[in-house]
């Protein structure tokens, strides 16, 4: 007996639906990259909260520079590291809007450290999403502020040596100490359960914004298969074994 596709396409059989906030553009990310998953979660949260018309996003410089091609909300593309400064002005001039910045580790924790710290310290009302994969992806695998000790990158080809290269920076723990942050959490998207927890964290960060009590900060420890020169499965395993001990998952601050 043949089954017609129309017989299967029924509401009760629906197991997944693409968020209406996601565009139809094909993402440019490498296989195994965490960006695509986090983009999807962000789109779902915006859709589920019904705030597509009230959200203004700030895109970074780095692999996710083109996030504005994938989520159908108004976007501003910032200079490298400056997203929190843009977000500050957007949030103050349009306090009726949700503001979300999306940055990688080089952007948020190296070149933009001052903007990150001061926006969080002032308690600017915005969601900051921080993708930490310990490497510069877009420029081809250079050392990041969050590159682990001993981890190889093209500008520390024999592994990061704290004596010469400095130490990996736990910027999220620093941000958690600042009085301006109301929610600081570190999550990952390496398993179905972790994806669910990250979505909950992003949702909570956006819900927190309704209180107007400061910055809500979500770090997502992420993989970079191309930069790490591993396949996606090995990347996930490597992240669990090496990144999580130094960047432990969970809520750091919730006030």
């Amino acid at each position: 007996m043949s089954v017609l596709i129309e017989d299967i396409k029924k509401a009760e059989n629906l197991v997944h639906k693409k968020s209406s906030v996601l565009t139809d553009k094909v993402m440019h990310y490498c296989p195994g990259c965490s960006h695509g998953v986090v983009h999807k979660l962000l789109a779902e949260v915006i859709e589920e909260m019904g705030i597509q018309d009230k959200t203004i996003g700030v895109a970074p410089v780095g692999c996710s520079v083109f996030i504005y091609n994938y989520l159908a909300i108004d976007w501003q593309e910032a200079a490298h590291g400056r997203a929190p400064a843009l977000g500050t002005a957007i949030s103050r001039l349009r306090p009726d809007r949700f503001v979300v910045t999306y940055q990688g580790d080089g952007d948020l924790a190296a070149i933009g450290t001052a903007e990150t710290i001061h926006a969080c310290n002032r308690g600017e009302n915005m969601v900051m999403i921080f993708i930490n994969n310990g490497i510069y992806g877009m420029t081809g695998g250079q050392m990041a502020p969050t590159t682990l000790e001993g981890m190889k990158a093209s500008t520390c080809p024999f592994g990061r040596d704290p004596q010469t290269d400095g130490n990996p920076l736990k910027i999220t723990e620093i941000v958690a100490q600042l009085p301006g942050t109301n929610f600081v959490t570190r999550q990952a998207v390496h398993s179905a359960a972790a994806v669910r927890r990250t979505k909950k964290a992003i949702r909570k960060a956006f819900e927190k914004q309704k209180e107007k009590t400061g910055t809500s900060f979500v770090e997502v420890v992420s993989t970079c298969s191309s930069g790490w020169k591993m396949n996606p499965v090995d990347s996930n395993n490597w992240m669990e074994e090496n990144m999580f001990p130094f960047y432990p998952l969970g809520d750091i601050k919730d006030v």
Partner: protein
Amino acid sequence: MSELRLMKGNEAIAEAAIRCGADGYFGYPITPQSEVMERLMELRPWESTGMVVLQAESEVASINMLYGGAGCGKRVMTSSSSPGISLMQEGLSYMAGAELPCLVVNVVRGGPGLGTIQPSQSDYFQSVKGGGHGDYKLIVLAPASVQEMADFVELGFDLAFKYRNPALILSDGMIGQMMEKVELKPQQKRWTDEEVEKMHPWATTGKPASRDYNIITSVELDSEAHEVFNNKLQVKYREMEEKEVRFETTDVEDAEYLIVAYGSSARISAAAIEILRDKGIKVGLLRPITLYPFPTKEIQRLGAKMKGILSVEMSSGQMVEDVRLAIEGKVKVEHFGRYGGVIPSPDEVADALEQKLIGG
């Protein structure tokens, strides 16, 4: 109601910003312009007009706050002095590339480096040739009085929004610090969010169902497409050169010699011209009010009748290059300047003209 007041140039910037309905000021303290933000903080415009005033952590942050605010279609501004303006060049390049309007005030001090806190005009090249990376221009207004400091705030915003391009008021420590009579315009209303959405459909104001989402960006990886975009900028700059040149001439009808000078130097030169005319030397003044677009055609037209031209600047000779480009070698063009924070006296300017153009 208009109001007649006595105040510093820096204070006039602050007063005019509130009165013209600016939405936001983001700045970082630096001498000799700190009175701008100090005055704004005293006036507390967030309680009257709703204008946001914020002291940022750096000039880098300030200019990027302007990017964010301008991206929302808001009238946002900053002020700084030379070293701080250097830090803003990245942001200005991005704003020109993203076609965002904003107003930046440079109360110039002597450089290079930390230099001095005394007045100078040595940021001319940085201001009129782009300043940051890439092919772009700023609209540059050069006030020569406290009144013009006030008036150019609104003019700067109007031009910035007309062309969706950053505008710069190129002042100096003398204009910023000196006190003069100034007529302040009556308070104007700020644009409402609804007005902004109607006037600036490109702005990121939150995507309604009725339109596609807006993207403010300066990135374009396709080089052919990026050349097309650059051409669009160039068309805009040619239009500015056609329509927005502003200048003032004094005593040029019978003049045999011409001084070209802007801002503080124009005022000093006006006094020098009185000294020279008392001696029977017929000198006129051309004062560029827009430094970009530069009054090239007027300098060509007037310059052709002259025996010699002197570019007077508080720099080692920057604008003189543009005067020479306008004159194309047809008339002798000399430069006189004091720099490093030194202000020339009218006597020095008069002597320089006699020595360099007439012969001692």
